[in-house]
């Protein structure tokens, strides 16, 4: 009987010994092991993304020439519009620089934009992150801001050889400085658990008590340059309700995030491109 029990208990004993060995193992070796296993599996995620690309290519191939010509015409119209808007943006940027020179203001941080494809969305109750198809090879750095056409996406967390992981805005460990549109006073944005079958949400804290939000007149929360990671004014979400917090001095409320955040296919990484941006970025927590 004892023989049988000891046989059955062997895995427990081995596991206990392994656990002790694991606890005394230096973190560097654990980190090395995790990175090696991640890099070993990274091609599978890229392969799946490649297969998806081939699928969309063949679905486009099945469309008629007439459809493609129509789409081409529409794209050329959009291109013309974007060229005009790009010209306006350049003029506004130069005007902004001249005003800054006149007022002796410090230059604003500059970013390089790196567009990356999302290869996997890993959005659970415990963590919210994306894996993108660009890494050290494209100059991505940990902590860099990530955006899309609907606003802020999150922040780069880990960078590998050809891929990076992005902590999403809805992740509950995500924090950033923000402010409301039309109001320069800073507030704190925090991610909260995302419920199933509903839109992602976040929370906003330290809101000045004179601000008011309602479903009819919601406040738009935008990014602040204070963190050094994002440029000013990028959309985060909408606040429809504010209540006084436990201190009684400030207000807090929930932020309704863009529902497309859970189904992203392409994002843009903001890489600090000049000395000012790098200095602010390196000082940020």
């Amino acid at each position: 009987m004892f023989r049988l029990r000891s046989q059955a208990g062997k895995p427990f004993l081995i596991l206990a010994l392994l656990l002790v060995a694991w606890l005394i193992l230096p973190p560097t070796i654990k980190r090395l092991g995790k990175n090696a296993l991640y890099e070993f599996q990274a091609p599978s995620a890229i392969l799946a993304s490649g297969v998806e690309d081939i699928g969309s290519y063949w679905s486009v191939r099945t469309r008629s020439k007439r459809d493609l010509i129509e789409t081409g015409k529409e794209l050329s119209r959009l291109n013309a519009l974007y060229r005009v808007q790009a010209g306006e943006t350049t003029a506004l940027r130069e005007y902004n620089l001249r005003l800054r020179d006149l007022l002796d203001m410090p230059p604003s941080p500059g970013f390089r934009y790196e567009v990356a494809q999302v290869v996997r969305r890993d959005l659970s109750n415990w963590w919210q992150r994306l894996i993108i198809r660009k890494g050290r090879d494209s100059g991505i750095v940990p902590g860099a801001g990530v955006i899309f056409d609907g606003g802020v996406v999150g922040r780069v967390r880990e960078v590998y050889a050809y891929t990076s992981t992005v902590e999403l805005l809805s992740s509950r460990t995500f924090r950033m400085a923000a402010h409301f549109e039309g109001d320069t006073r800073p507030v704190r944005y925090e991610g909260i658990p995302v419920p199933s079958l509903r839109n992602p949400k976040g929370s906003v804290r330290d809101v000045p008590s004179d601000l008011f939000a309602s479903p009819e007149d919601p406040l738009s929360l935008v990014s602040s340059y204070l963190g050094g990671v994002f440029p000013d004014g990028l959309h985060i979400g909408e606040v429809r309700f504010l209540e006084t917090d436990s201190s009684g001095l400030f207000q807090q409320g929930s932020v309704i995030l863009n529902e497309r955040l859970l189904d992203l296919h392409e994002v843009t990484v903001l890489i600090p491109a000049d000395a000012v941006a790098e200095e602010i970025f390196n000082q940020s927590p």
């Binding site: 995790k34 996997r120 659970s124 079958l197």
Partner: protein, 191 residues
Amino acid sequence: MQWLKRFSINLPEAPAYRMKILRQGFIILAVNWIVLFLILELNSLLSPLGLYLVVGGLFVVYPAFHMNPLGGLAVALLTGALWDAVTPAPFGLHLFLLGGLFAGLYRLRHRLRSRRAFHQAVVACGANFLIVLFLTIWFVPAAHLLDYSSRFLIELVFSEVLVFVLSLWMFPLQERCVLLIGAQPTPEEIN
């Protein structure tokens, strides 16, 4: 010393046997890894719905019931390490979680082991429930518990259904793969 000898792993010295254990472990690990990859892709597709499915219970049933303790534990630990690498969880969490589940199932294998697919599926569902529960407790937030627990319940139901359905395909696949490479374990090897 006598006590320690009782716990030592008695592997026959024959190289052919060792190779058989290696082949068996490798093929089961490969199947586990493919299923892990497919589930990660499925979760990526389900992300707009706010659903994330966990099927960890599938990875320990075959090693615990049909492999020898050393080979089975190695497969469970390596699957856990592969799972750890693709999640932001602390490295070692899934590794020891699967290792602990393997040890528990191995200890109870005489009571739980069955050739019937339904029984194995029920064991996989039970193991999966423990994994989801453990992770939910491990990552419990300080606030917003209502949203957190409601999502836990919804995902648990979907995960258990998926584990049950997948186990009807995966365990026969593992058995067939082991048979194909000629590494089917004998009852003496399992025990």
